[in-house]
């Protein structure tokens, strides 16, 4: 067999699969066959490229042409034009929103320019279902290196010195965590990979597992060696079928190669990995809840201490890290702690993966060095706000985080800075909001989530969050007073102060941060009965301007509740006591006579 002269990398992440990347692959393969190129060109399904906004993405190698929004129908043209005739298919190239120029190489795209990929190093680069490609990229070399030449203490020291901190939210130093578990005395220990990514709007871990599952397996084995564990468990959401399948494939391949299992690389080190399915409970991202869930119980957290490092799964010392944390381990071992610790800020080293979403032009998965500013992320990488609207806020940290504003845009992103601004790193969700988003509604959205996901074990979280939600609802209905804002704050603070686990201890953050940063907006709701963003229906009034209305009766006819009355050819009126504020009349009016106040 000759060597492939070209590779076509097709993104096969969940997002692009939803847009039928499988159809693209099969059409590409048949087009190649038709043109007798199937022995020269290899089609590779890779993990997520990150640029989900413009998916499905197809990249041609070696000339690095980056095609966006490809459909299966485009496959024939790609093969014929790009491969046979050597001409780029212009219409599928990315258009720079500023210069309006077509850019063919992803390196020159704003979305990729400021990224630095460590955890995502193999995503969109290798075929995640082929262990050979991982090995070709130094896969399992880090594990081999420590097994051959290091003691667990030495290997742990590298992680400690690198300054790597937990990427799941808390930011606890990873090396220190390993050391605690290593020092715990027990006949059995466990390594657990927390892949129960539950933040709404976050999909970092899923992308890593789909795009580079072996890096997680390798890191877990390294961790096992360091802490003295021979069993790894991956707790993964059942909602991630693709990631589960790729993990299973990866585990089988690694077992066949003997890279996990018994006597790995002839060193006598044993380590094997099993998959445990989550079942849809956000609180299971909390490590004690996760452990209970793996034990077949309700995912209710327990008070720490004892920490899992002392008493975890089945009562044995257990080290829990999240997917992204693990994905950072092999490069750190191979390139050294110094290399890693030179990236990022003083206290937050390395990079962070964010799922950039909301009202930005470029929705997608990005990896940036710590210390980058929110402005760079939102405007340079994210390509600014959709539809030319005004930036209003960015929410980081999901339901545990807060909303940051204009004034925070130039603060370097790291664990401490985000915390100080009233938000948190969280697992990496980053939702951008524009002038149309009402901050009370945003806080309400997150509280709605927390109320549904609270496990119910402790009173402040079970009842307190419900009350927080109800109070926010009252505000959005214009039924609150300024006095209530003080009570809202007290309740939020007490929930933070008294809740049993991280979920409740952080759930008031969306409320507190919006209250701090958008005090005026809250005041407008409670004092003036107005929603400045025009989102809170109850505070809106539809009015017909009698000067502009010609009495065409169109509005009358579309109104679902007969709230509009008036004689033909005379100005109509809306009875606001009946109006349900559906907006149908506004859409229908051809004379601009209807407005919202």
């Amino acid at each position: 067999m000759g060597k492939y002269k070209s590779h076509i990398l097709v993104c096969a992440g969940t997002g692009c699969r939803a847009s039928d990347c499988e159809g693209i692959v099969s059409n590409l393969e048949s087009a190649l066959e038709e043109n007798n190129l199937n022995e020269d060109v290899q089609v590779v399904r890779t993990g997520c490229f990150g640029f989900c906004e413009k998916g499905p993405v197809v990249k041609m190698v070696p000339d690095n042409t980056f095609y966006v929004e490809v459909t299966p129908d485009d496959a024939g043209e790609l093969v014929l034009e790009h491969l046979v005739k050597g001409r780029k298919v212009e219409r599928l190239l990315y258009i720079d929103p500023d210069t309006k120029e077509r850019i063919s190489d992803s390196k020159h795209m704003g979305f990729y320019k400021k990224q630095y990929r460590i955890a995502l190093r193999n995503c969109g680069f290798i075929d995640p279902e082929n262990i050979d490609e991982y090995i070709a990229r130094d896969g399992y070399a880090a594990m081999g290196k420590i097994l051959e030449s290091m003691t667990p203490e030495e290997a742990t020291a590298i992680i400690k010195e690198s300054g790597l901190r937990g990427r799941g939210g808390g930011g606890f130093p990873t090396g220190l965590k390993w050391e605690f578990t290593r020092k715990a005395q027990a006949d059995k220990k466990y390594v657990v990979c927390n892949a129960d990514e539950g933040d709404p709007g976050a999909f970092m871990d899923r992308s890593i597992l789909e795009g580079d599952p072996h890096s997680v397996l390798e890191a877990m084995a390294i961790c096992g060696f360091c802490i003295g564990a021979d069993t790894g468990l991956i707790y993964i959401r059942a909602e991630y079928p693709l990631a589960i399948n790729r993990l299973k494939t990866a585990i089988n391949q690694a077992r066949e190669y003997g890279l996990i299992g018994k006597d790995i690389l002839g060193t006598g080190f044993n380590f094997d990995v099993e998959i445990r399915l989550g079942a849809g409970a956000f609180v299971c991202g909390e490590e004690t809840a996760l452990i209970h869930s793996m034990e077949g119980l309700r995912g209710e957290p327990t008070v720490k201490p004892p920490f899992p490092a002392e008493k975890g799964y089945n009562g044995k010392p257990t080290n829990v890290n999240n997917v992204e944390t693990f994905a950072n381990i092999p490069p750190i071992i191979l390139k050294g702690s110094k290399w890693f610790s030179e990236i990022g800020t003083e206290k937050s080293k390395g990079t962070k993966v964010f799922a950039l979403a909301g009202k930005v032009n470029n929705v997608g998965l990005i990896e940036v060095p710590m210390g980058i500013t929110l402005r760079e992320v939102i405007f340079d990488i994210g390509g600014g706000i959709k539809g030319g609207k005004k930036f209003k806020a960015v929410q980081t940290g999901g339901p545990s985080g807060g909303c940051l504003t204009e004034k925070h845009l130039d603060i370097p992103i790291d664990y401490e800075n985000l915390l100080q601004c009233g938000s948190m790193m969280g697992s990496g969700g980053m939702i951008v909001m524009d002038e149309d988003d009402c901050m009370v509604s945003v806080a309400k959205f997150y509280l709605d989530f927390t109320v549904e996901e609270s496990c119910g074990k402790c009173a402040p979280c079970r009842i307190g969050n419900k009350r927080l939600y109800e109070m926010l609802d009252k505000i959005s209905l214009g039924k609150s007073s300024e006095e209530d804002l003080g009570m809202l704050r007290n309740l939020a603070n007490v929930i933070k102060d008294t809740s049993l686990c991280g979920l409740g201890q952080t759930s008031p953050n969306p409320v507190l941060s919006t209250m701090d940063n958008f005090h005026e907006e809250y005041l407008a709701h409670v004092a003036d009965g107005k929603c400045p963003a025009g989102q809170c229906k109850a505070l809106m009034h539809y009015i017909i301007d009698s000067h502009l209305c010609v009495g065409c009766t169109l509005c009358n006819r579309v109104c679902p509740v007969d709230a509009i009355s008036g004689e033909k050819k005379t100005p109509h009126v809306i009875d606001s006591s009946i109006c349900i504020k559906c907006g149908a009349c506004l859409e229908k009016c051809k004379f601009g006579a209807i407005s919202v106040q």
Binding site: G15, C52, P200, R276, A279, F282, G296, L297, G358
Partner: protein
Amino acid sequence: MASVKLPESKIQELKEVCQKYDNKGSELINVLHGAQELFGYLPAEVQEIIADELNVSVAHVYGVVTFYSFFSMLPKGRNPISICMGTACYVRGAEKVLDEFKRILNVKVGETTGDGKFSLSCLRCVGACGLAPVVTIGERVYGRVSADDVKKILSEYA
């Protein structure tokens, strides 16, 4: 107390699922996943058999089933509709889409239409945020859905 009669062959399969996990109570969640795959949902009788096989109380099994949103005690429709309510989808209008499904199908979230054709549920982030708002029906994924599209989408399943 049984209201649903289970076919014997399925019970045998269910017991095999339990055996696959060594009938260990600590494997309850894996077993429930297997059972739900087998039956499409987890009726009371299935939970009783599992409790018996794993030697845990039925109350415990039920406590676990009701804790996790992935498990359902209601049979799903032939075309299960899931609307992503992740933040990205939410800010891009998922709620309006949901309302439209509710209105047209005349069911609440978690319910199945009378003819068993559709069931409606919400889920948290399928991870296709670039396509927000996202709706899945069975294996199919619909991206950038607006309320106006709902009728058309449903008509595909006529």
